[in-house]
Each structure stands twice: as structure tokens, then as C-alpha cells.
């Protein structure tokens, strides 16, 4: 049984469609990152998951329970970090966590949870409305962790955190997943999503344009990697272009850049270059999630790409249709 099962979710506000026919699942112990530009429908999806909004169409179940009819029964097993909420006025961070412990009826020690998220004891006893954004996020994460939830729903958990805080969130997410919890989180920090997620869902204008591991998304778009080699003299680039899996070759001064769609093409291209010139230095850049995100959320027609598909399968490796020129585009960006 999946921790989250969304089937054909559509949410409309009058004439505006916030989410359209979204299908997605999150398995137990799995970390799924949810990406999308502002207004793509990420928070709307999360709000439906928690029963804050009623879907216009579709089915949404959390931990085996239909949350559209019975959101209450699963809340004790869900940890939520909402996006952009303000604290209860005049309550300390510790009191927020203690109230969550009391409500969930667990035996968690608020101080232990606050220590885990890196909120100092003296800060935990200050009014939460006086916190910096980072401190507040840490407190909110501690609230979400109360009761060892089976599902963690984190809406922009790293917003406002310093690099140490971002690293801490990453560690906690992995620890929770290792414990067996499913983690469903949205983020604008693509590096964070790439590092911690087992799969990534990319949302654009309310539609899920891709769901897969970053690696598979990279393969599907042909956005493999770029080999940059510094050579004594730039040779004829034709033989490099002919290597199977190489999508683009260019030279800039003494640097030759070879875009490779397939992993095996890198060494083959490098050997062929080494046969024709003296290679002094080599760097390899994988196409980043930022490239993928851009490729999936940029208007395909403007980019002159092939028709897009939708990949909403749950762990089935499906993804959006691969734009024909994406490999070159990715290589250029890398």
C-alpha cells in the first residue's frame, strides 16, 4: 500500500484550474520531491492531501484512507510542515512542539525534538514570532516530526534556512525515510531535491509533466553530461561528433566541450580526443536538475521541441515525452 495515492486529482477555483488530472503515488520509505514554478499547484496538492481543500475531481488517499471523506483519521500518522504560516502569537517554540505532542498523544520529549532540529534551548523558550525565518522553520520541522509519522509532508522545508540548516533538513529527511516513513516535499531548492529525492515530480501549470528519478529524467531528455577537455591544440571535431551518444561538440579557445547523451559516450569521446590531441585537463558536468526543471517547465513550442507527453506513473519510470533537441539544449547549459 502506498503512503500517498493521488488519482486524477483536479482542483478548480471558478474558472481557474490550479491542478489538472494529477496522478502520483509515494511509496513507504520513499522520498518524492515536488517541483514547480510559483503557482504551479504544489501547495494546492498538499492542501488537498491534508483535507484543507476538497478536490474538484479525482481520488486522494493517504495511508490507505480517502482523505476527501475522512481526513481526520490519518492526521495522527502524518507530520506536516506547512508553507508560510505564522506561529501562534505569544507562544514559545517549545510550546508549539509540546502542544503537538499533547494533541498527538505521544510521549515525545519536545526538548529532544528541538535539539534534533538544531534549535537551542534558550531560543526554544522565546516567543516563536520573534524567530528568524530559519529558526521558525526548524521549530516547524520539530512539530512535523512529533510522533514518528508514517508520512511527512513538507512544504518548502528549507525556505529561509542557511546552508547548515538545508543540510540538516536533508539528513532528517533521509533518516525518516530510512525509518520507513514516506516523505513528500516541495522545494524551490533544486539541489536539495536532487540530493535527497528518490523521485521527482515536476508540476507546470497544474499538470504533472514528469515523475521519475533525476537520473532517469536526465536519460529521458537526453540531457546526460558535458565533458570539457583542455587540449594543446584543437583537432578536427568531426570524429568526436561521430561517436555514438555524442550530441554536440564545440570548441572555445583550447577547451573542447563534448555533450554526451549516453553515459558510455564520455570515455569513447575522450579516447578519440586523446588520440588527436594532448589532453591537459578534463572536467565532467552532469546536467543539473535545474536544467531538467527548465526543460520541463519551459514552453515546449517556444523551444521548438517535439510534442510533450505526461508521465504521471507511480514509480513506473515513465516521464514526459523527450524533446528532440533537449540533449543539445542540456549540453549547452551544462
Amino acid at each position: 500500500m502506498s503512503a500517498v495515492e493521488i488519482d486524477g486529482l483536479t482542483k478548480r477555483y471558478g474558472d481557474v484550474t490550479a491542478v489538472s488530472d494529477l496522478s502520483l503515488s509515494v511509496g513507504r520509505g520513499e522520498v518524492v520531491g515536488f517541483l514547480g514554478p510559483n503557482g504551479a499547484g504544489k501547495s494546492t496538492t498538499i492542501n488537498v492531501l491534508l483535507g484543507f481543500l476538497d478536490p474538484t475531481a479525482g481520488e486522494v488517499s493517504v495511508l490507505g484512507t480517502d482523505v476527501t471523506t475522512d481526513p481526520q483519521s490519518v492526521k495522527a500518522r502524518v507530520g506536516l510542515l506547512p508553507e508560510a504560516f505564522e506561529p501562534v502569537p505569544n507562544l514559545t517554540g517549545r510550546e508549539h512542539v509540546a502542544a503537538a505532542v499533547e494533541t498527538k498523544g505521544t510521549d515525545d520529549d519536545p526538548d529532544v525534538l528541538l535539539e534534533r532540529v538544531g534549535l537551542a534551548p534558550e531560543d526554544a523558550r522565546r516567543p516563536a514570532e520573534d524567530y528568524s525565518t530559519g529558526m521558525f522553520q526548524r521549530m516547524a520541522l520539530a512539530v512535523a516530526l512529533v510522533g514518528d509519522p508514517d508520512l511527512l509532508v513538507l512544504d518548502e522545508p528549507s525556505a529561509g534556512l542557511d546552508p547548515n540548516g538545508v543540510q540538516l533538513v536533508r539528513e532528517i529527511v533521509r533518516e525518516e525515510a530510512d525509518r520507513g516513513a514516506a516523505v513528500f516535499f516541495s522545494s524551490h531548492i533544486l539541489d536539495e531535491v536532487e540530493r535527497v529525492s528518490d523521485r521527482v515530480g515536476i508540476l507546470q501549470d497544474g499538470e504533472l509533466t514528469a515523475v521519475n528519478s533525476v537520473e532517469n529524467l536526465r536519460d529521458d531528455l537526453g540531457m546526460g553530461s558535458v565533458v570539457s577537455a583542455t587540449v594543446d591544440a584543437v583537432p578536427d571535431l568531426g570524429p568526436l561528433q561521430a561517436v555514438d551518444g555524442v550530441t554536440d561538440v564545440s570548441a572555445d579557445g583550447s577547451t573542447v566541450r563534448v555533450a554526451c547523451a549516453a553515459p558510455g559516450a564520455k570515455m569513447a569521446a575522450l579516447r578519440r580526443l586523446d588520440d588527436r590531441a594532448t589532453v591537459a585537463d578534463v572536467t565532467i558536468e552532469e546536467s543539473s536538475l535545474e536544467d531538467l526543471f527548465e526543460a520541463y517547465t519551459t514552453d515546449r513550442s517556444d523551444a521548438g521541441e517535439a510534442e510533450s507527453g505526461t508521465g504521471a506513473g507511480a514509480g513506473d519510470g515513465s516521464a514526459a515525452g523527450s524533446p528532440a533537441d533537449a540533449a543539445t539544449a542540456g549540453g549547452d547549459r551544462a
Binding site: 492542501n47 484543507f52 492526521k75 504560516f85 506561529p87 501562534v88 505569544n90 502542544a99 499533547e102
Partner: protein, 282 residues
């Protein structure tokens, strides 16, 4: 369990803002001043409850309104509601918790104000106050403030923004208290009914006016006071005796007014909850 946690959390929050202290101290001080200023004129404390009842009906709701209008709407505007409802709190438990704190402050400040008035009367009046009359006055006044706070919390739960909540609560106060049974010389229910009666072919009988007048919490409150607090009062005060010979209209019947007050006290929060239960939060 979660209702208690929500209420405790909420009470802690508003207590630390000094809003509660402000309301309680302000009404207690006003009650004391009313009694201190009337001891020489009216030797019987029961006469001064006549003036205090006006304070309860027109000033106390205004003191309580700032405390009530953000009860739910404030949480929605700040997003704090996702903290509460992200935990295993049902919407009913959350609403109950919010209502309980505001109702407790309303009833508590009313009862304390009446208790202070009793103490001042005991210490400064020629005649000792009648505990029974003061108990009845306190209970009736507390019920009235509960009804008004129930309306305010219901408004707060029915809207999604602070501004709408403020406009709604001020509007509810003006309509149900200041307009319905209020001191405004032109803009009140009586002049509105006069305007309706002036239309061709329309007549509004006195009994109908009495019944319509009893339909707000303030109307029911003022209609119940003569029966429950001032009946047989000593001192021959004209202000209290004016109710002795009221016509036998349905609108003056104690049971009708008790029913109206009960309906507002229970019905307003219920309607507010039903609106909140189906609200889209996000």
C-alpha cells in the same frame, strides 16, 4: 482532548497579549465607576443595575469584539490554522477550542464586573445589595455576552480575512445591539419600523413591534431584566417600575425572550461552525 489543547493554547496566547486583562480590567473598572457614582442618588443598588445593564448591552460587546473577531479569521489570515489542523484536530475540535476561550473570557469578565459592582454596593450603598438579584443579573448578563461572542466567533469562522471579520463583527454589534435596542436617536429599530409602517397599506402593531424587538440578544436581555432582576424591587424607582404594566404581548413573555437568547447563544456558534466545516482552507 484536542479541544482542550486548542483552548489551552489559545488562552495562553491571548492572555499573554494582555487583551484578556484589558477586557476584564476595563469592564470591572466601568462597573465600579457606575456604582460609585450612583450611590448617593439611588440608595438601593438594584436601581444601579439599570444603568449597568446598558453598559453590558452596549459597551461590553465592544470590549469583547477585538478579542473575538480574529479568533478564527486571524488564524486563517496568518496561516496558523494549518498548524492547528495539520495536527489531529478536527475542525469541530478546533472551533470548539476557539469558542471556549472567547466564551470563557466573555462570561468571566461579565461575572467579575458584576461581582465588583456587588462589592462596591456592599461597601458604599445605604441599603445592602440583594445577592439573589445580583446573581440573576450576573447570570443573565453573562448569557447575553455569550450570545454576542457566539455571533462574533461565528462571523470570524465564516470569513477568510481580517478585514471582513472586522466589518462583520462591527456590523453584527451595530445591528443586534446599537440599532436593535440602542441609544441612537434616529437610526434604530423603532424608526425603521416607523418607516415601514408609513408605507401605504402597511401597519405594524404594537405587539408586532414588541415581538420584533425581542428577536436580538440585546432585545431579549432587556426584556428579561424586569422579570428576573427588577420585579418587586424596593425603592419605588420610576426607571424600574415602567416595566410593571407592560401589555400582555408575546414579545414580552419571559419564555419567548429566554428562547431567543438561548437560540442566539447556541445557534450562532453552530451556524459559524457549519460554515467553517465546509470552508476551503488554502
Amino acid at each position: 482532548m484536542s479541544t482542550a489543547t486548542v483552548a489551552r493554547t489559545d488562552f495562553r496566547s491571548i492572555r499573554r497579549s494582555y487583551a484578556v486583562v484589558g477586557v476584564v480590567v476595563a469592564f470591572a473598572a466601568l462597573s465600579a465607576l457606575v456604582f460609585l457614582g450612583s450611590g448617593e442618588v439611588h440608595p438601593h443598588p438594584v436601581r444601579t443595575t439599570f444603568g449597568l445593564s446598558a453598559l453590558v448591552a452596549w459597551a461590553l460587546p465592544l470590549l469583547l469584539a477585538p478579542l473575538a473577531y480574529l479568533a478564527v479569521a486571524g488564524d486563517r489570515a496568518r496561516g496558523t490554522i494549518t498548524y492547528h489542523l495539520g495536527l489531529p484536530n478536527s475542525r469541530a475540535a478546533y472551533f470548539r477550542g476557539k469558542y471556549v476561550t472567547r466564551a470563557a473570557v466573555a462570561a468571566g469578565s461579565t461575572l467579575l464586573g458584576v461581582a465588583v459592582a456587588f462589592a462596591v454596593a456592599l461597601a458604599t450603598y445605604e441599603h445592602a445589595p440583594d445577592p439573589g438579584r445580583f446573581l440573576a443579573f450576573g447570570a443573565l448578563s453573562a448569557t447575553f455576552t455569550l450570545a454576542m461572542v457566539g455571533v462574533f466567533v461565528a462571523v470570524s469562522a465564516s470569513v477568510a480575512s481580517r478585514s471582513r471579520a472586522m466589518v462583520g463583527v462591527v456590523g453584527a454589534y451595530f445591528l443586534l445591539s446599537a440599532f436593535w435596542v440602542g441609544p441612537l436617536p434616529v437610526l434604530n429599530l423603532g424608526t425603521a419600523l416607523d418607516a415601514v409602517a408609513a408605507l401605504p397599506g402597511v401597519s405594524v402593531s404594537e405587539s408586532a413591534r414588541a415581538l420584533i424587538g425581542s428577536l436580538s440578544p440585546a432585545g431579549a436581555y432587556f426584556n428579561l431584566l424586569p422579570e428576573l432582576v427588577w420585579a418587586g424591587a424596593p425603592g419605588e424607582y420610576a426607571a424600574l417600575q415602567q416595566f410593571a404594566d407592560r401589555p400582555d404581548y408575546l414579545g414580552y413573555e419571559p419564555w419567548v425572550n429566554a428562547l431567543v437568547l438561548a437560540a442566539w447563544t447556541v445557534g450562532a456558534p453552530l451556524v459559524g461552525y457549519l460554515r467553517f466545516r465546509s470552508a476551503e482552507l488554502g
